[in-house]
Symmetry: C2
Subunit: 450 residues, 2 copies
């Protein structure tokens, strides 16, 4: 069987190229057009075997390409994103974020694991196939966007406009981390996402708390009351209607999750929390994978002086599960907040456009079967877990709607690799494992090992 | 009577000197030692008639001086501060904060009214007396500190060390604004102050809300719950023991305040709030002057991304009235916050040292009588109101303790002049009114008009 897929050698040989890619600060939230184009062009250069090129959008360009040399074989569309999160506080990084730094088998850098490393895995898989065998085992199209980290605002219109060009039997996403490093997993669901901002405004300016104290409502007090009202003290979401449409867990679902080893104490220790916490009546894994959540991501107002701040704001997001409609959940939250009495201040609740519903793929889908087989080939003797992604990949729902194709998440990022945080990294061994797994997957999907 | 006090001419003639003083960015919270010393030296230069000089402290120097040429007359100690608040957001200033800008009878600049303008009033009063009459009507010592805006951390030790040098029959404070521009007032009380910080910590880092959501407590949720628990929804402080020792308002107190014209609607319109708000059962003025308050001055945590923040913080201050002991109030708040259940996070409550009790001076005190007479001379036909300062002047309690002297607040700042905010200003006419009022006050206190 060894001859059926290319050989890749030591994964460290690919690090110089990953370093080049990471060195381009393609932070979509800061949208430096030069950096975004540089990252896109770097990627197009790697896709020379597939006529790699940029297609403009109303935002950052999409990088595309296609290899159609396997007549009769299926066509897959490979999805990923070349944009990265902002670095956040530079002081919290132990190494420069845009200088790939190798330490103890880990490659540190912004984007190393989300999503530049996983994209490199696919590029090298394709290049190895072509170099060693002269062909890929199936037809491949590529769609790498540059706005995933800001919610893909231009992807829907772009995809609808170019739907014919991206037609495929299956989408394979290089984005969407495997959930832990100790065993292989394939994801069968991702959560949806809604986002909203709350802004409480009082006076036209900050007021001296002595000279005005006792006469006006403090917007921070109102905001605190509104935010405290989003949850019960034991961790359940208190917004009426939030859980509408969410199916209660079935006995087989609970059994399936209970069969997966999960060490609450080790997990708490790794995160540094004194105890785990969440909606009562569910195990940690059930809450993480199968229950919707609502989190306040940020609050801001006033400062450290003796003022009554005149504005206080909060950013709130919810992660949805199947059965929840994003628009209905947003409306339920808005109604809950608007119904709370707030004399003396103005409360504005603004829903961010672009909410995403949860996504699922049938565990019996042929792509899932192929993925499990490919992983079993790379991780012999290990159980392949059917996992869920707590994060949101709105592209999957979009591909289903526009292309009529399901999406297989097949990333070799791991969820603990500081995604969106300082000191992001990817395990170097995962690069090699990923290339072998993608090679097996493509061969399986191409029918050559069927 | 006109000949008994110096003449001052048009107040605009003093603006160039105020501009010089304001131009020195003596922001004590940023503590640029060069700027602090420059402001202190400028002030000492103005006090050449009183052997003006700097005395070092463990922080910024005190500027002092004395004129003892009125044997047999009382000695007053004039207090003020040459430090100013930070500018805050420069974008919110319509004019450069350290360039005094005159517009419509107002002189804009950081420190113009808190406390550089009111200090200039005293300096010019003394200089005019000496130039025109060759003498002051009483003995005067000066104490201008450079750390009032950061809570005067070094003043207590300094004053104890130099108590003999500052002995006086009365302290007159150039700090402590009059409460409104429409009528003269003299203050007979100021509120006390306590401050504390709340810090809620969860994981060792911000967590991706999808990849970890549902498994850990969100520190912002806990903070919101703690802050919401500080007040009832109708605006009363909900901390058990907070009101301990606070006397219920007497019928004469209520009648006194009810006799003062106060237009709630105009006040709300000036502040830009949709409605006034505060502890039920009290009028706006009663809440402002006679009731203690507790305000969240600032909150911070996370940002606008989809994270579960790992830290959320709040700064809280209380304004106290007579009968409340700062240490006891702080302990009551700490107990209230610590008693709240907060599973999954750590809550730290840190009291700031240096809480101050409220301060009062008997409305029948001879200094109050002299102040009312002096104001009546400058504002003929207008009622002089006995007002309270909602702000805190910890120096007054300190002077009483160390020097055994009461403090008369006699500032010509007005409470609406954007103290501690962008676009701080002083009314130019107030400079002239202040000089004439100080001149009358000194003459009255010196016994020459008795």
């Amino acid at each position: 069987m060894a001859g059926d897929v290319p050989s890749f050698g030591d994964p460290t040989r690919y690090l110089p190229e990953l370093a080049e890619f990471v060195a381009i600060p393609s932070v979509s939230r800061e949208s430096d057009p030069g950096a975004m184009r540089a990252a896109a062009r770097w990627l197009a250069g790697q896709l020379s075997f597939a006529d790699g090129r940029l297609i403009p959008t109303d935002g950052n360009p999409v990088v595309t390409g296609e290899w159609h040399g396997a007549p009769g074989a299926p066509t897959v569309l490979v999805y990923g994103h070349y944009d990265v999160q902002p670095t956040g506080e530079l002081a919290e990084w132990r190494t420069p974020p845009f200088e790939l730094t190798i330490e103890d088998g880990r490659a540190y850098g912004r984007g190393a694991t989300d999503d530049k490393g996983p994209i490199l895995v696919v590029l090298k898989t394709a290049q190895a196939y072509l170099r060693q065998f002269g062909a890929l085992p199936l037809n491949v199209r590529f769609l790498f966007e540059g706005e995933e980290e800001i919610g893909s605002p231009n992807l829907p219109a772009f995809l609808r406009r170019h739907a014919g060009q991206f037609a495929a039997d299956l989408v394979i996403s290089a984005d969407g981390a495997q959930w832990r490093a100790s065993e292989p997993s394939v994801s069968v669901a991702s959560k949806g996402l809604i986002a909203l901002d709350i802004r409480v405004t009082g006076a036209s300016r900050d007021l001296h708390s002595g000279r005005y104290g006792g006469t006006v409502q403090n917007p921070v007090h109102t905001l605190a009351r509104l935010l405290a009202g989003l949850h019960t003290s034991d961790g359940r979401v208190a917004v009426p209607g939030f859980y509408q449409g969410v199916a209660e867990l079935s006995a087989p679902q609970r059994a399936e999750l209970a069969a997966i080893s999960f060490d609450d104490a080790a997990y708490a220790a790794e995160l540094g929390v004194p105890a785990l916490f969440g909606e009562p009546g569910y195990s940690t894994l059930e809450r993480l994978w199968l229950r919707p959540t609502l989190e306040v991501n940020g609050i801001e107002g006033g400062g450290r002086y003796t003022v009554i701040p005149h504005v206080a704001t909060a950013h709130v997001t919810g992660r949805l599960v199947p059965g929840q409609r994003p628009a209905a959940v947003l409306e339920a939250i808005r109604a809950h907040l608007s119904g709370a009495a707030a004399p003396g201040v103005r409360v504005e609740v603004t829903a961010e456009p672009g909410g995403a519903a949860a996504y699922t793929i049938d565990p019996g889908h042929p792509a899932i079967t192929a993925a499990r087989t490919a992983l079993a080939a790379v991780y012999p003797g290990q159980q392949v877990i059917l996992a869920r992604i707590g994060g949101t990949l709105p592209a999957a729902a979009l591909f289903e709607e526009v292309l009529g194709a399901k999406t297989l998440f097949f990333s070799f990022s791991t969820a603990d690799e500081m995604l969106h945080a300082p000191n992001e990294y990817i395990r170097v061994r995962r690069l090699g494992e990923g290339m072998r797994a993608w090679a097996h997957l493509w061969r399986l999907l191409g029918g050559q090992l069927a």
